[in-house]
């Protein structure tokens, strides 16, 4: 019973943050702020939906003693880990490339990177 509520809560949190990420992607004014929304919110949301999957697989394992559900949970965990790892690197690469290609942050109070002459 508690597992079902946990699944619902995790799924709802994940969906809410994914939605916020996409809304931020559509709403923010320039590239860097959009990247804030997509990187943080969608990674967090996807990790939470994966957590729901892990909780469900554990509850399935407890009800039917079948070791393949443990394998399912472990693989889902590896997928979430790889997702967080690669998303961080990828967004850093995009931000660096955008700044090098001349896209400056349009509303910005300070830009130390441009002052550093890079």
């Amino acid at each position: 019973m508690i597992a079902e509520w946990l699944i619902i809560i995790f799924l709802v949190i994940g969906i809410i943050f994914n939605t916020l990420g996409v809304i931020g992607l559509l709403r923010f004014p320039d590239l860097y702020t959009r990247m804030h929304a997509t990187t943080k919110a969608t990674t967090f949301g996807s990790v939470f939906t994966t957590l729901a999957v892990i909780v469900y697989s554990i509850s399935l394992y407890l009800s039917t003693i079948d070791s393949q559900f443990i394998v399912l949970g472990v693989h889902a965990f590896i997928a979430a880990f790889a997702l967080a790892f690669t998303n961080a690197i990828g967004s850093h690469a995009i931000a660096r490339a955008a700044h090098r290609s001349g896209i400056l942050p349009s509303p910005a109070v300070v830009d130390r990177l441009k002052e550093a002459g890079r």
């Binding site: 943050f17 916020l20 990420g21 809304i23 931020g24 709403r27 923010f28 320039d30 860097y32 702020t33 990247m35 804030h36 929304a37 990187t39 943080k40 919110a41 990674t43 967090f44 070791s67 393949q68 443990i70 394998v71 472990v74 693989h75 590896i78 967080a84 790892f85 998303n87 961080a88 690197i89 967004s91 850093h92 931000a95 660096r96 700044h99 942050p105 509303p107 910005a108 109070v109 300070v110 830009d111 130390r112 990177l113 441009k114 550093a116 890079r118």
Partner: protein
Amino acid sequence: MIAFILTFLLSLFVYLVLTAGSGNIGLWSASELTAGIVLSLLTAAVARNFLCRARNYRMANPLRFLLIPIYVIGPFFLEVIKANLDVAYRVITLRIRPGIIRVSSDLKSDLGIFMLANSITLTPGTITVDIDEHTHDLFIHNINVGEGEEAAPVIRDHELFSIADLPQWIRRIAE
């Protein structure tokens, strides 16, 4: 040689995690263990110059490895939750004050810089934009530069985080 052994052990660990629950020697069957050892030897032969490129074997200490999951589950996750609530607030209200600031850290090792940069990207309203290859200063796009912070040419790394002192944790793990 040490690089070979370390890569072998790490890849064997990954393979055993992937194939857990296949038999009854522990969690694995005999053929999976044999195949894991052979494939890990192959991986070590291919990738030994990649994983230990810096020839810095400080991370071979298992205690440091145990600290990484504690770091990820504990302080890092709290910061992630706070950062996401912050981003949610800014998505809804559009109250932003962006800017690129310069952050200095006295981390030296590659792993330390890597962990700090990724923690900064995933946590407190900031994205790592660029890195100075010599002084290891990070250029960071902050979505909400605090009042008066734009005047300071360089800010320290622990001033970014509010709940837990993540750079201190990283220093404990990687330095």
